[in-house]
């Protein structure tokens, strides 16, 4: 029920919304929760386990009960806190975890079976018969569990991430935070003030406190105006600082458009901020704790602070006859505020016998609420008092067990809060987060004046750290009455008294856990699920561990707490991973021939981050094999052109360039002549092969190294380490030139013919022997030519500055086509290299040594190199290792499969008989049958042996002959030309 004239809502801006299909109206400035209460809607949800009817407990992000779903399809948002969701016109909310309806939920039968569903019951049953777990029990449990539902459709909202930096981050804009920001802002510090609420003011919005003789929210508005005028202060509302990380880094979530019917019209729904702050002030306030008593979970039973918030901020009376139950003076405000607003207060129950008297209300001192009744919402409470029990008709109970400082962020780096007896609460320990100071209610200062004072002091100290001068702030006048309470966690008595509302954990459950020896607070939590609901125990942890402490005969400090971990309040995966959908996951790298490749209809495959053509289909070809075979034919019989720009190219110069190469390659490069190219093998320090490639010597002190596409970054890092870390005394400079050059392989008997005509000087085979290199002029552009071959044919790689890559590719392809050749893709490239027994990362997959791939002889005995010593460990070069061989099926149609394993011909295909595995296979159009590369135990000694290839996954068994891995042109005559 709305109270005329009260609240900070826009009375002139009425908005319409629906809940479970029923239309209601509220005002701008309402949350969904305040609007539902104003409309008299009390039952809004069902609990997790017993499907108990639930209403609204709190007025903040800690709400455990009032979770709803908003939106449908790709915008369906489950588990939205009605207490946080701002109302907008057209909002449609639905209740969740109920079937068929909120009023009639079939699974509420669980509540009747509660005696059998106590803490940890599932560990003791559902074990027989075994097969029933997956078939019956688990599906049943899964179906009953969960809260809201994902739609199953791809997220359709836009999210974003951003970085922010500041001198001082102030977390929370209540009195303490505002004061801190004001002091720091006035001193000229670079300040960010963040608050999870849409409106600045914190508890000042919910209370009737006065500051400097003005209503608190008016004071907040004035401070806000001053802060807004400062260039050095950045205000971030609707922004929850959710995590504290190392070295002043904070995670924060800004809810940018949740409050807008148009969802921000192109603006993101949420922004995930990483805020880096040199210093920070935590002014996160405190959260009120409920009291556990029998049936304390009925709709209509709320925290006292929430009742005041609904009353004072939103002008809503959550009941017609409200009762208040507390153990502290603060709860009394509730009764006073309600009465001042003309709401009937049916009783004020204070568990303290010596509680101060409140006039004008039926006050019961030394009383305890010990039960409640009502069908789907509260109708009456029972109070145990001196002289017996009293029943009070009431439709809303405001309860307060005291306040818990919001210490959460201070625990994110393993800080353990300390127990303060006087306020019966945990408070932060100084230094728990380096650079962070807690101030105000989150630090246990519960008076308004205390908050203002601590906020100002924290700012002054932070400014000092930052080397900024702060003028001593004048503190505004405010109430400084100390907070007085007497702990009351659970009212003794029969029946179930709720601690964790959402997860349905009761006092009994905690006690039972203790009986079963789950006495450690972590054990109790895990056994009962206490504190594991969506509020992560914000409403219940302290009370639960007080109950545990009592049950185990220990004090609260010895019992300890569980750990609060990030995030403070839950954050959508879409926000944390914003932008990563589809192609946003990793960069795409395109070669200069990409457009031409696509235009020719070539399917693309990923090579690292690059895209390369698989094959270039021609009209009439119906499968990739036809295209591939044709392209292999180009290279073997005419000429083929392939873009090889993706291979890493590293320019290495300096007086010690040769030393570096000798150090990182197993073989010698200092002896390489200028104008020549050599194949090199690189090891990791553990002696296994890391990468291979060719390196060209362009000048006395100038080399260009080629790496594989996949390992380019890793090799660069490796070289930088060798030079900076191991030999900083060397004169050598490294520079990646992968991107500067577009490089194309031109291979085949007619390769030279393709190139002649492009080059200013035709190629003379005498000047350009196999493995030579040099500068050339390509149609007037300075380029480089390397005579190297990955196909076994006479081959060249020609490089020009990348701006000319697209153009050169077109010209090369046209010339090749004129000679009966054309472009070839990765499939053909793979066939060509397998025919020659050349390795790729299929073979140098990280576990193989130079010995394994038949290159043991390439590890030079004349020098040290990275990996050499470890490659000589006995286990890495002794008989029995699986070594590279070729495989040829015994019959012409025999099928080979990469990933299949090898066995002796007669042996059973079981692990203990395993002899090796197949790494690369292809159909060789040149030889007319399949061929493969494989690793086989002692393989090189077994050429000629028939072994059995078995692929159990695909049901293929093939007898193969072990052969030399070079299938074609074994003496290399063709590539030497």
């Amino acid at each position: 029920m709305r109270i005329e004239g009260k609240g900070l809502i826009a009375r002139d801006h009425r908005v319409s919304f629906t809940f479970d299909g029923v239309r209601y109206s509220g005002f701008q400035g309402d949350t969904l929760a305040s609007a539902l209460l104003a409309n008299g809607v009390r039952l809004v949800a069902r609990s997790f386990k017993y499907h108990r009817p639930r209403g609204i407990l709190t007025a903040g992000s800690e709400e455990p009960n009032a979770l709803v779903t908003i939106g449908t399809g790709g915008r369906q948002d489950p588990n939205v806190r009605a207490t946080v969701q701002e109302l907008y016109d057209g909002l449609e909310a639905r209740s969740q975890n109920r079937w068929p309806s909120l009023n009639h939920d079939l699974l509420s039968v669980n509540d009747l079976a509660a005696p059998f569903f106590g803490a940890g019951f599932y560990y003791k049953t559902f074990m027989w018969p075994r097969a029933f777990w997956e078939k019956l029990y688990e599906p049943m449990i899964r179906k009953a569990a969960g809260l809201g539902a994902l739609s199953g459709e791809d997220n359709a909202d836009r999210y974003e991430r951003a970085f922010a930096f500041c001198d001082l981050l102030v977390i929370g804009a209540g009195p303490a935070g505002l004061m801190a920001a004001l002091v720091a802002g006035r001193a000229g510090a670079d300040v960010i003030l963040a608050d999870e609420d849409a409106r600045i003011g914190g508890r000042l919005l919910a209370e009737t406190y006065e500051i400097d003789g003005k209503p608190g929210h008016v004071w907040a508005e004035e401070v806000l105006a001053e802060l807004r005028a400062m260039d050095n202060v950045r205000l971030m509302t609707r922004t929850t600082v959710a995590g504290a990380y190392d070295h002043g880094t904070f995670a924060a979530l800004e809810r940018v458009s949740h409050h807008r019917a148009d969802r921000g019209a192109g603006a993101p729904l949420e922004c995930f901020w990483r805020i880096v702050a040199r210093r920070s002030v935590l002014a996160a306030g405190a959260l009120e704790r409920p009291v556990a008593f029998r049936d304390n979970d009925r709709p209509g039973i709320m925290t006292a602070g929430a009742v005041r918030a609904y009353l004072n901020r939103w002008g809503v009376a959550p009941g017609k006859a409200v009762t208040v139950f507390g153990n502290n003076d603060d709860a009394h405000r509730t009764a006073r505020d309600l009465m001042a607003a003309g709401v009937h207060v049916a009783g004020l129950i204070d568990s303290r016998h010596d509680a101060p008297e409140v006039q004008g209300v039926h006050m019961i001192r030394g009383g305890q609420v010990c039960g409640s009744t009502g069908r789907r919402s509260l109708e009456a409470i029972t109070v145990r008092r001196a002289g017996g029990e009293e029943r009070i008709q009431t439709d809303c109970l405001a309860m307060s067990g005291g306040w818990n400082p919001s210490v959460h962020l201070t625990c994110h780096m393993n800080g353990r809060p300390a127990w303060r007896r006087d306020i019966a609460s945990f408070v932060p320990v100084a230094g728990a987060i380096p650079g962070l100071r807690a101030a105000g209610a989150c630090n246990g200062a519960f008076s308004t004046a205390g908050c203002l004072r601590e906020g100002a002091a924290a700012a002054v100290e932070a400014l000092e750290d930052l080397g900024l001068k702060a003028s001593e702030p004048t503190l505004p006048a405010a109430d400084d009455t100390p907070y007085a309470l007497e702990p009351l966690w659970a009212v003794p008595g029969k029946g179930r008294a709720w601690l964790d509302f959402q997860n349905d954990v009761t006092v009994k459950d905690v006690k039972q856990a203790a009986v079963e020896n789950f006495r450690s607070v972590e054990h109790m939590k895990r056994y009962t699920t206490q504190g594991m609901a969506t509020d992560q125990g914000k409403n219940s942890n302290v009370a639960a561990l007080a109950v545990l402490a009592d049950a185990t005969g220990r004090g609260i400090p010895e019992t300890g707490t569980t750990t609060f971990r990030p995030p403070y309040s839950p954050i959508a995966i879409a926000a944390l991973g914003a932008g990563a959908e589809g192609k946003g996951f990793q960069p795409q790298r395109f070669t200069t021939s990409h457009a031409a490749t696509v235009a020719r209809g070539a399917p693309l495959i990923e090579a690292g981050l690059w895209y390369r053509p698989s094959y270039f289909p021609k009209p009439g070809e119906t499968d990739w094999r036809q295209s591939c075979d044709r392209e292999v034919g180009y290279v073997r019989n005419a000429v083929g052109v392939a873009d090889v720009s993706t291979l890493g190219k590293i320019d290495i110069q300096g007086a010690d360039a040769a030393k570096l190469l000798d150090f990182v390659y197993t073989n010698m490069f200092s002896t390489l002549k200028v104008g020549r190219v050599r194949y090199g093998l690189m090891l990791r320090e553990d002696g296994h092969v890391m990468d291979d490639g060719t390196t060209a010597r362009l000048g006395e002190d100038h080399y260009v190294m080629t790496t594989t596409t996949a390992a380019a970054g890793e090799v660069m890092k490796h070289l930088e380490f060798a030079t900076q870390g191991l030999h900083p005394e060397w004169d050598v400079s490294l520079c990646s030139v992968t991107e500067h050059w577009a490089q194309f392989a031109v291979a085949g008997p007619k390769a030279r013919e393709v190139l002649n005509g492009l080059l200013d000087t035709p190629l003379d085979p005498q000047d350009w022997p196999f493995m030579s290199c040099g500068a050339v002029s390509v149609l007037g552009v300075a380029g480089r030519l390397f005579r190297i071959s990955f196909s076994g044919e006479e081959g060249y790689e020609i490089a020009v500055p990348a701006r000319y890559g697209a153009s050169l590719f077109d010209i090369l392809v046209k010339r090749a086509e004129g000679l009966g050749g054309g472009p070839y893709g990765m499939e053909a490239l793979n066939v060509l290299r397998i025919e020659k027994g050349f390795i790729t990362h299929s073979e140098i997959h990280g576990r193989t040594t130079a010995y394994d791939i038949g290159m043991g002889g390439m590890v030079s005995a004349r020098k040290d190199c990275i990996g050499k010593t470890m490659s000589q460990r006995p286990g890495l070069e002794e008989p029995g290792r699986e070594c590279l061989v070729g495989l040829k099926p015994v019959g012409p149609d025999g099928r080979l499969l990469a990933g299949a394993h090898l066995y002796r011909k007669e042996a059973e295909a079981k692990r203990t008989n395993d002899q090796g595995y197949v790494t690369s296979v292809c159909h060789s159009p040149t030889l007319g049958h399949m061929i493969g590369l494989a690793f086989l135990a002692d393989g090189p000694e077994r050429h000629g042996e028939i072994v059995k290839m078995v692929d159990g996954l695909r049901g293929v068994t093939t007898l193969c002959e072990v052969v030399n891995p070079v299938f074609f042109d074994a003496d290399g005559g063709r590539m030497r030309g």
């Binding site: 970085f163 990380y245 190392d246 070295h247 002043g248 880094t249 990483r274 880096v276 780096m413 380096p434 320090e685 553990d686 970054g713 890092k717 930088e720 380490f721 900076q724 870390g725 191991l726 900083p728 005394e729 040290d864 050499k868 010593t869 470890m870």
Partner: protein, 87 residues
């Protein structure tokens, strides 16, 4: 985590690649023997406390950096270019 690159200043550790303990800078001679090499490549003190480790400013200036850091708290005590740590 923030790491101060000797060249670029304080940066988010997302710009860095991690290699491990800075003993990687103390590469034994080829004839140092099996135990020395085993220690170099495999065996680690792995302290729960202050350690020195190697980071590569891969998403930045390309420097290898030695970082003195507490493995229990992540506190960074100092950083130095690897080339200078060696020199």
């Amino acid at each position: 985590m923030r790491i101060t690159c000797p060249h670029c200043g304080e940066r988010d550790h997302r710009e860095f690649y991690y290699k491990g303990h800075a003993l990687a800078l103390e590469r034994p001679s080829p004839d140092a023997g099996e135990a020395a090499w085993d220690d170099y490549v495999h065996q680690r003190e792995n302290p729960a406390g202050v350690t020195r480790d190697l980071w590569y400013h891969e998403g930045g200036c390309g420097a290898w950096v030695v970082v003195s850091r507490n493995t229990l708290t992540h506190e960074v005590l100092g950083t130095q270019a690897a080339s200078e740590a060696r020199a």
